[in-house]
């Protein structure tokens, strides 16, 4: 790995080239508009919040996609380094999510901790699962993951199955927000562990060097 004076420049160059800026900006706009709509009419438009969370999962997953994986995976930069650089996009999305909730907190439920954690964990799940798939050799698992995650999360937020026992998307003040906090913490920890395990296994010296690419489905 290049540790000379050009290290920061190389990192920035990779960040600029690897991040889907237009997609990030577009999804940020939709998410911001969604949170603003929920804050304006919380009682009626609450499912939009879950839809925005689905979009967070999807966009974080797409951030991992490496179109030129066959070339890049053979380069000296390890996957963990590229994953760390690529996390800038989802981190920016989480920051934006938190800022939007903080700015519009007055009409929202009085549990900003849960609402912000939901966004952070949603990004973590998308990024973590896509990273694990990248480490297993897939080039662009994010698009496939996003295509399934966005409608499933939005659908779950609309239908809210098992909400009394598993309050994933609490809406009303009388719902169990503490349990929601616990559920999202567990989900976030699991996503982080999945990604960390995949990166650690990828970083280990291999008995048979070389990357085996698997077809994206």
């Amino acid at each position: 790995m290049n540790d000379g004076p050009g290290h920061l420049g190389g990192t920035l160059r990779y960040l600029v080239a690897a991040t889907h800026w237009s997609l990030l900006a577009g999804s940020g706009l939709i998410i911001g508009a969604g949170v603003a709509l929920v804050a304006r009419w919380p009682e009626a438009l609450w499912p939009v919040h879950g839809t925005a969370l689905g979009l967070m999962v999807g966009m974080a997953a797409v951030a991992v996609d490496e179109r030129c994986a066959t070339v890049v995976d053979a380069s000296p930069r390890p996957l963990w380094w590229r994953t760390a650089v690529r996390s800038a996009g989802p981190l920016a999305l989480v920051l934006f999510w938190a800022t939007a909730h903080w700015a519009l907190r007055a009409p929202l439920p009085d549990r900003l901790d849960v609402l912000i954690l939901q966004g952070a964990v949603a990004c973590g799940i998308g990024f973590g699962l896509a990273t694990a798939a990248r480490a297993s050799g897939r080039s662009e698992p994010g698009v496939t993951l996003a295509a399934a995650a966005v409608p499933l999360v939005a659908g779950a937020a609309l239908a809210r199955p098992f909400e009394p026992d598993l309050p994933l998307f609490p809406v009303w003040p009388h719902e169990d927000w503490d349990r929601a906090l616990l559920i999202w913490t567990v989900l976030g920890t699991a996503a982080a562990l999945v990604a960390a395990r995949a990166l650690w296994r990828d970083a280990r010296p291999r008995r048979n060097p070389g990357v085996t690419h698997r077809p994206d489905r």
Partner: protein, 302 residues
Amino acid sequence: MTAAESPAIVTVAEPARPPWMDLARIEVRRYAGRPAFLVGLVLTYATLLPYLDGDEPTDELSMIAPAALLGMVGLSVSAHRVWASDRCAEAAGPTPVGQASRTVGHLAACVVPFLAGLGFVLLTVLRAQSVPTVRGGYAEMMSDGWVAAVWFALGAVSCLGGPILGVVVARKTKRAAAPIVTTVGLVLAVIVFQGLFEPLRRVRVVLPWTYWGGPFGIDGDPQRSVVLSGSPGWWLTYLIVLCAIGAVVAVRTDVEARSARGRTALIVLAGLAVVTVVLAMFTGTAETLVSPVPGDGPAWGG
């Protein structure tokens, strides 16, 4: 007849099948095996688990589960199936099966989520025969036929319409983000037109999914049940016409499949859609009906 002659006789006797039928069988199997569909299916039917408690009233608002978890998810599943089969067709080179036949195969596969949604509706209707819906709710206020039309439209037809829309989207664009953007746009539109906003209640039936009743509240009782205006019977017809329009539009994206007959069919269907949606708006229940039973839930903010 000798054993050597019999295969020739069987081949002659067998009627020639159009290629889309074989494709349909393959696509039905593939759709049923998609993980997103299976997750949605499990989550949908898991919402029926509370019915194991015999005292739990049948949920008149439960049709959101199949619509969201089978219909909306079906949009993405269908679109990605279409693209996957297109990639196979491109890799195979010139084949005797054209794009239109493949499209018909994908449209036939939409029967999988439809049947799953229909099963959910039938189970709910059967449950409602033995354990009634919540007291004072819209299902108690209206006739069995009215409720059945609403549930069939919301719980089954939506599971057909979402996947058909996915086929249309995939045939119109190759952009991977298109199903996601369509899903998000659809959710936003449906939430706005679900009937909570009074000025939009008449025109809400233009959307492919909307509520026909529920605890929308009145002044002084924010959880009071109401029945919204319109005719669910005509709306159901409108939704079926929309599905037919989607199917024709999807098939006609193949230039070779375009014909004057198809164009006429599209014009007739568009006319039918306009007529049925106007009838859905202005016939049936004339104004919002308010339940005589007070609501019992809390308002926003406690």
